[in-house]
């Protein structure tokens, strides 16, 4: 008998959010976005300087907070009261004095002492029954995070000091977090929260690395440096794999990569059905660098260029020239192929202030996207001018997110005209004859599609938000994420309505949500009559392949049946029964 204990193989099941298999070592990131805190002992003679280091971090945190308060624009200033409270919390005796005491008494480093004290404080909040007051422990988290950042001397997430590729394990990753990760170091993602349509999943698919999300308690089970296997298609995560399991997965990995290679060989062929209808297959991008990936995978253009990135993880709004450079980069590389630039789709103030959006109870229903832009015309104008200038260099379309009423379209067009006029006056090169489209992602826009169609050149259906708003499901909430499905009968009927209106009014209907990138959905989308599909670049080959194996005539007949289904499950089963063989390969 071996004298060491043999560890049992453990299997965890989550949501498979990005396909692929990887085998590697775990790297844990704390919930708050700070690395796992190290503990080390401080010699007696260094205790004073360790305490000084803590005091300095608190002082820096306070200075930073005061600067944020002072620099807040006037209309935000009345919300800075909570930040002033945070300044007071920094020096609260339960936090400040206690941490210093802990450093002294236990002779440990400041990070560890702070972590210990904060954990103790949070325990006290467990028993509070009032949910609002219970959530006040968040204030303490924010404050201690800020100190911790100065102690460790890093940005939110620092995986810069690892020299090998790892599997990132976290409770949750916000878009701001993922924008700071050195993505080339990540070979896979595991998170406790989140689902198939979350930001992490999108990033993982963009990078073509496997991801399993919504695992519940992965961060508690997995330790740093554990060797794990991820199967991003099935959502299975394996710890302490036996030799047999390991070789099984090595083989699966090889087979998966072979299939990917097969698809990519056909990716430059046209997406034409067996009966001769050809569709435009476009790529969604977030960074200019991804353009290459779109072209490599056989994309016909950019169907969605997300522009939020330039507004994330920084202290001030990007200037017109900076935006123009970024847009022009993409437009020039794409040449005659269309580049659909979507205007800012977040609350810019929050992105810039990096305040994690805690002020709005329901950010998804709050001040974001076009609502924010129309409220901040100066910020919007900067972006509109940059887009019009980039349009002089290629084939640009402009796409407005989160339209819910006609006024928003008219106000946007007015601002766009003003921007063009000002460029004209300044004698700058620009092009205002660009296609103007709106995202169809709020149910009211679906119902008013006939009215909206008269004012725009195209619709682009954003299925992620449309499903979220129509079915009232937060796709990041694992309790309800399973209810989120594009084949919900209500969703299928809504899309049908939009494509019908498009045909009647003679405008094109595109789709750029997640729904467009899954080969399984292709028969449905073809039947519904979507003119152009836009997806993660990596999905293009498989979707094109699927289109080439179908007849549009069959798809149209099929969709009439699909629309008669009354439950999501029935619709899925019908697709499986009718097209399962092709999809199953």
């Amino acid at each position: 008998m071996p004298d060491h204990e043999i560890q049992k193989e453990i299997r965890l099941i989550g949501t498979g959010a990005s396909p692929g298999i990887c085998i590697g070592k775990a790297y844990l990131v704390d919930k708050e976005g700070i690395d796992i805190v190290e503990k080390y002992f401080i010699s007696r003679k260094n205790l004073d300087s360790e305490i000084k280091r803590f005091k300095m971090a608190v002082k820096n945190a306070a200075d930073e907070l005061r600067a944020i308060i002072e620099n807040a624009p006037e209309d935000v200033r009345r919300h800075t009261g909570i930040l002033e409270t945070h300044v007071a919390l920094l020096k609260d005796k339960m936090l400040y004095d206690k941490t210093i005491e802990t450093i002294k008494n236990e002779r440990v480093n400041a990070e560890w002492a702070l972590k210990k004290v904060v954990t103790g404080i949070k325990m006290l909040f467990h028993d509070i029954s009032d949910s609002y007051l219970k959530a006040r422990s968040d204030d303490i988290t924010h404050v201690s995070d800020r100190i911790m950042r100065f102690l460790i001397g890093t940005e939110e997430i620092n995986i810069g000091n690892i020299d090998k590729r790892v599997i990132l394990v976290a409770k949750d990753l916000s878009p701001a977090d993922t924008s700071q990760i050195q993505l080339d170091k990540v070979m896979g993602f595991l998170t406790d929260r989140g689902g198939k349509a979350s930001h992490t999943s999108i990033i993982a698919r963009t990078l073509e690395v496997p991801a399993v999300l919504g695992l519940g308690n992965a961060t508690q089970i997995i330790n740093n440096d554990d060797r794990i296997i991820i199967d991003g298609a099935t959502g299975i995560v394996i710890l302490n794999a036996t030799d047999q399991t390991l070789s099984e997965y090595k083989e699966l990995k090889a087979r998966f990569e072979e299939r990917k290679a097969f698809l990519s060989r056909g990716s430059h062929l046209k997406a034409e059905t067996l009966d001769g209808l050809s569709l435009q297959i476009m790529g969604n991008i977030e960074l200019p660098e991804e353009v290459v990936s779109v072209l490599d995978h056989g994309g016909d253009g950019i169907g969605l260029y997300r522009t939020e990135f330039q507004y994330l993880s920084r202290n001030e709004f990007p200037g017109e020239d900076e935006l123009f450079d970024k847009y022009k980069d993409v437009v020039e590389v794409m040449g005659r192929r269309p580049v659909t630039i979507r205007t800012l789709d977040i609350n810019g103030d929050k992105a810039i202030a990096n305040s994690n959006g805690s002020d709005e109870a329901n950010p998804a229903l709050g001040l974001r996207a076009i609502r924010y832009c129309l409220k901040k015309p100066d910020i919007f104008r900067t972006q509109l001018r940059a887009i019009l200038r980039a349009a002089a260099f290629g084939n640009v379309r402009i796409l407005i997110p989160m339209i819910s009423s006609l006024d928003e379209i008219r106000d946007t067009k007015r601002l766009l005209n003003e921007a063009a006029n000002s460029l004209e006056k300044e004698g700058k090169a620009y092009n205002k004859n660009i296609e103007f489209g709106i995202m169809i992602e709020v149910p009211s826009a679906v119902i008013l599609a006939d009215v909206m169609a008269q004012e725009v050149d195209f619709f682009s259906i954003g299925t992620n938000d449309l499903i979220q708003y129509t079915l009232a499901i937060d796709r990041g909430n694992r309790e309800v994420a399973h209810l989120y499905h594009p084949f919900h009968p209500a969703i299928l009927r809504m899309i049908k309505h939009v494509t019908d209106v498009g045909k009647e009014k003679g405008i094109k209907v595109y789709m750029c949500g997640e729904m467009a990138g899954d080969p399984f959905n292709v028969p449905v989308l073809l039947g519904l009559g979507i003119d152009e599909l836009s997806m993660n670049p990596q999905s293009i080959p498989a979707v094109k392949n699927m289109i080439r194996s179908l007849k549009v005539e069959d798809a149209r007949r099929f969709i009439m049946e699909a629309l008669k289904q009354t439950t999501t499950m029935d619709a899925i089963k019908l697709v499986e029964a009718s097209f399962g063989e092709m999809i199953g390969q």
Binding site: G81, I82, E84, T85, A88, L89, D92, K93, M94, L95, I121, L124, F125, D127, I128, S129, D130, Y132, L133, K134, R136, S137, D139, I140
Partner: protein
């Protein structure tokens, strides 16, 4: 008279909508820091230091909660009264 053991206290009800939240606790703490000795806040059988925002928050006082504010130092009575008044006014919210 044994002055040391005398104890000054007042009971008051939390009337503002959100209860004793961070900003309200910060206002109490700011006043309590002016006292010479510790001013205590008592809810049921829990007793916390009024000069610590965090300590106050851990009481979890929602609207309608009765709290007792107390000190054993006579010269801090003014501070105690100020705190009572602040709570009674609903923190000016």
């Amino acid at each position: 008279m044994n002055k040391e053991h005398s104890n000054f206290s007042k009971s008051v009800m939390i009337t503002n909508e959100l209860g004793l939240h961070a900003r309200a606790a910060a206002k109490i703490a700011r006043l309590a820091m002016q006292a010479e000795k510790i001013i205590w806040i008592i809810k049921d059988d829990e007793k916390v230091d009024a000069s610590s925002i965090i300590d106050i928050l851990t009481l979890g006082c929602s609207k309608g909660t009765m709290i007792k504010i107390t000190t054993d130092n006579e010269s801090d009575i003014d501070v105690l009264n100020d705190i009572v008044m602040l709570v009674e006014k609903g923190f000016g919210e």
